[in-house]
């Protein structure tokens, strides 16, 4: 019964989306305030309908209603409750429902909080959001209905992919979707601006918080995913350039570029058509990511149920959304007047260089991801290649070097015309820090890869440059501490957020360098009681016990790690077998300090009678790897800090008016007059 309610509200949401796609757009064209207002109501109603649908599906999973096809295929009565709930979005149908729910929540947020937007812009934005929502709701209802029933109802389910049965992954998709779908806001604002034919500083100011929010969530989502891969897949690595990972990384790269170029639009009224294009491309990458993962054109460890019919449907959505947007761009962009002029050596110049490099990086990842597909199509399916980490490491790294070099310099430059001499004087601390880091690293690890000290130098350069810029802003050391303190508390949060995010990247570079340059690995076969020496440690397989979890059986190994005869730690690693899904997963034993991870994994038991009492044991020393996620955490924190800046929420022209209590009670949002 509850599932049928879900089905009805899902259809209701489709109808609401259709209304919202047409009526406000029409109202905006005619200048009819009443018609434009319809968008607000439908946006809120649509979000409410989808919340009910999502709750209905969650109910099905929580109560293990196996008459629902999705629940049967993706759940099991023995599964722990947390994974019954996360199972709601751990499958194709449910994850698409989450996708449209997030989209509708963003639209509703615009309807509620967008009171100071010009009414025509707001109406058009909501209308574009509804078009996207309509397309995906139709996709769900016609090809991936989460409320499809099975008759007769099976007695028990067939389980969730056990790899996905993990707390880290339970929250990875929702975060990722908040990011992916959040970029739809930038897209809708871009299309609305193209329709209006007007992009100005105010537009930049409205787009930025949405882009920033999406970027922050996406950063968190990607980091969580890579953390999961690190401890769950048991390969000791944390990023594999897998197509599905790339699918989330491309919107991030374009989104990062967009974040920076929209600053130029806001502050300097320049780079307008480029920013519009970036907004379109960023969301296009989110759509492309959805297509690649959902259609099955790529084969990947992440691949969900694949179905060509669904693929064709998403491809059609892609063709209309991206093709339509880019065509509109081609028609309207030449008419856009560029704004303020600036010298090459200026903040604008640095941000343009940042955009070029980020776009190049994104294009490289896109090429590497799609190249196997293009080759396969051109050769008629004869040639199948895969593009792996060597390609990405060789192309992506060199693009990042100038980008990071620039990141320290850019914020030191003034708008319009920067003074290279002043900037180079301010960058001296960063240069000293970089040289120091190179020297120290070289002395500390003389036998490592030759490039590693330079990578550490790069991180030090960025960190020192960022701190120096931040110190300069609050006049640290150049004025009495009381002045610095006053200036610190007067700093806009968005500026501090920027510094933090840049600092986070520096921390992350340290982690990436450490884990890829100085990692040591030991692979061997051990029987209980045996010890092997390597990687600077003595590893003893103490015991292997067998047991049962809620829906799996496991072999649990206890490893004793000693260094120079002294006990460092004992760790547990498990190999789990899920009989219902007939799949095996590993739980790595990880002992972490801030400086390095000791990482142990138990592998297969020997098959032949002689080796039946021995297990494959892999042991890694991953230096500095925690810094990767520490850096990501700092970036996310920087994003939220910047987001909390009230300048992002208060429209520039209405700043004075907003210091007074709002004139209109919030229950009756009247469209604010355009300036």
């Amino acid at each position: 019964m509850i599932a049928e309610i879900g089905q009805y509200v899902l259809i209701a949401a489709l109808v609401l989306a259709a209304v919202q796609a047409i009526v406000p757009l029409w109202g905006a064209a005619r200048g009819d305030a009443g018609l434009m207002m319809v968008g607000d109501r439908t946006a809120i109603a649509q979000a409410a309908a989808l919340l009910i649908a999502f709750a209905a599906l969650t109910h099905g999973f929580v109560t293990s209603d196996f008459s629902l096809s999705v629940v049967f295929q993706n759940s099991h009565s023995l599964k722990p409750m947390l994974y019954k709930v996360s199972g709601v979005w751990g499958n194709h149908e449910g994850s698409m429902l989450l996708w449209v729910l997030v989209l509708a929540l963003f639209s509703a947020a615009v309807a509620v909080y967008g009171r100071n937007l010009p009414p025509t812009l707001k109406a058009r934005v909501l209308s574009i959001q509804a078009m996207i929502g309509f397309a995906f709701l139709a996709f769900i209802i016609f090809t991936s209905n989460p409320f499809a029933r099975l008759s007769p109802a099976p007695l028990d389910g067939t389980g969730l992919n056990p790899l996905l049965q993990d707390p880290g992954l339970a929250f990875h998709p929702p975060l990722l979707y908040l990011g992916y779908v959040g970029f739809s806001m930038a897209f809708s604002f871009a299309i609305a601006a193209l329709i209006e034919g007007r992009v100005d500083a105010a537009w930049g100011r409205w787009v930025r918080p949405w882009t920033l929010a999406a970027w922050t969530f996406l950063t968190g989502g990607i980091a969580l995913g890579s953390w999961w891969a690190y401890y769950e897949l048991g390969w000791g690595g944390w990023w594999f350039w897998d197509p599905v990972e790339n699918a989330s990384f491309m919107p991030w790269l374009f989104g990062t570029a967009l974040l920076h170029s929209s600053i130029v639009v806001e502050k300097r009224d320049a780079l307008k058509s480029w920013t519009i294009l970036l907004a379109i491309l960023t969301f296009s990458m989110s759509l492309l990511g959805t297509f690649l993962v959902r259609s099955g054109v790529l084969t990947s460890v992440h691949a969900f149920a694949t179905d060509p019919e669904r693929g064709v449907f998403i491809l059609a959505i892609l063709a209309i959304a991206i093709g339509g947007a880019l065509t509109l761009f081609a028609v309207r962009a030449p008419g856009m007047k560029g704004g303020g002029l600036f010298a090459p050596a200026s903040r604008e110049g640095a941000l343009i260089a940042n955009n070029m490099l980020l776009t190049l990086a994104a294009a490289t990842v896109l090429l590497g991801t799609l190249y196997p597909l293009i080759l396969e199509a051109l050769s008629g399916g004869e040639t199948r290649v895969s593009v792996g980490p060597p390609f990405f490491n060789a192309t992506f790294g060199p693009i990042m070097v100038p980008l990071v070099l620039l990141m320290a310099i850019g914020p030191l430059m003034a708008w319009k015309r920067g003074n290279l001499r002043t900037a180079s004087r301010k960058i001296i601390p960063a240069a000293i820090a970089a040289l120091l880091a190179i020297g120290v690293t070289f002395l500390a690890v003389p036998d490592g890869p030759g490039l590693a000290p330079f990578a550490m130098g790069l991180a030090a350069w960025l960190a020192a440059g960022t701190i120096a810029e931040w110190g300069g802003r609050i006049k640290l050391f150049s004025s009495p501490p009381s002045v610095s303190w006053r200036r610190l508390s007067g700093q806009p949060r968005s500026a501090s957020g920027m510094s933090l995010a840049h600092l986070g990247l520096a921390i992350m570079i340290v982690g990436i360098t450490g884990s890829s340059a100085w990692r040591t690995e030991l692979v061997t076969t051990l029987s209980p009681g045996e010890t092997v020496e390597g990687a600077g440690y003595a590893v003893t397989l103490e015991s292997v016990t067998e047991g049962r979890g809620p829906n799996y059986s496991f072999e649990r190994a206890t490893l004793r790690i000693e260094e120079d005869g002294e006990l460092v730690t004992t760790m547990h690693t498990e190999r789990r077998f899920f009989p219902i899904a007939n799949q095996t997963t590993t739980e790595a034993g990880i002992r972490t300090t801030l400086l390095s991870d000791l990482y142990g994994v138990i592998g297969e038991r020997g098959r032949t009678p002689e080796t039946a009492d021995a297990w494959t044991v892999r042991f890694f020393v991953n230096p500095l790897v925690p810094w990767i996620w520490l850096g990501a955490l700092v970036m996310v924190f920087g994003g939220f800090l910047s987001l909390s800046d009230r300048r992002h929420r208060v429209g520039a022209p209405r700043r004075a008016a907003n210091t007074a209590p709002p004139a209109n009670p919030p229950t009756q949002p009247l469209p604010a007059p355009a300036e």
Partner: protein
């Protein structure tokens, strides 16, 4: 010049769209769920030896028993819904004279016997693989899966997922004809 530049994104996108459309509508590619070919195809079937499901069910077999004649080996389980869906086609294959063996995967003996009694037993012999050791040897990733073993005991073909009438007509039967003819 500027016009050309702004048209570029949409032109590149159109080309990409063409590529992806071509891949998606390529029937050959999509009708084959085991697109990544099994590394075992073309290799001798790994040695397994399985007991019978129960005393009254013909079976227990080892890899040696498969040699000498083309054999279809179908991996199934009583708890597996797609297995039930493909069961009539397996039955049809056996009725048409093919030699069909079964591997009963992660099942309980009593459940398997009930299932076979209710839906019929087309298998010449069934090996009982309760702990999935044999399936593991054969690289089975899920049920149902179907192997074609040639007279020399080499795995000639593997199909992952249920057999549908299309799969039967386009894959299984041509492969059988090809091996028996050659």
């Amino acid at each position: 010049m500027r016009r050309l530049v702004v048209i570029l994104p949409v032109a590149i996108f159109a080309a990409l769209l063409g590529v992806m459309g071509a891949l998606l509508t390529d029937g050959e590619r999509n009708n084959d769920p085991s697109r990544l070919p099994s590394p075992l195809v073309g290799k001798p079937a790994p040695a397994i030896s399985l007991p019978a499901v129960a005393d009254n069910i013909p079976g227990g077999f080892s890899t040696e028993d498969l040699k000498g004649q083309v054999t279809i080996v179908n991996v199934f389980a009583s708890w597996c819904i797609p297995c039930l869906a493909e069961h009539p086609l397996i039955t049809q294959l056996a009725a048409d004279g093919a030699r069909v063996y079964g591997i009963n995967h992660r099942d309980k003996s009593a459940d398997a016997v009930t299932w076979l009694r209710r839906h019929g037993n087309p298998y010449k012999a069934i090996g009982f693989d309760a702990d999935a050791r044999a399936s593991l040897e054969w690289g089975v990733t899920g049920v149902p899966e179907t192997f074609i073993i040639d007279a020399n005991g080499t795995i000639a073909y593997k199909h992952a997922g249920p057999i549908t009438p299309e799969v039967l007509k386009q894959k299984i039967l041509p492969k059988l004809r090809e091996i028996e003819g050659g």
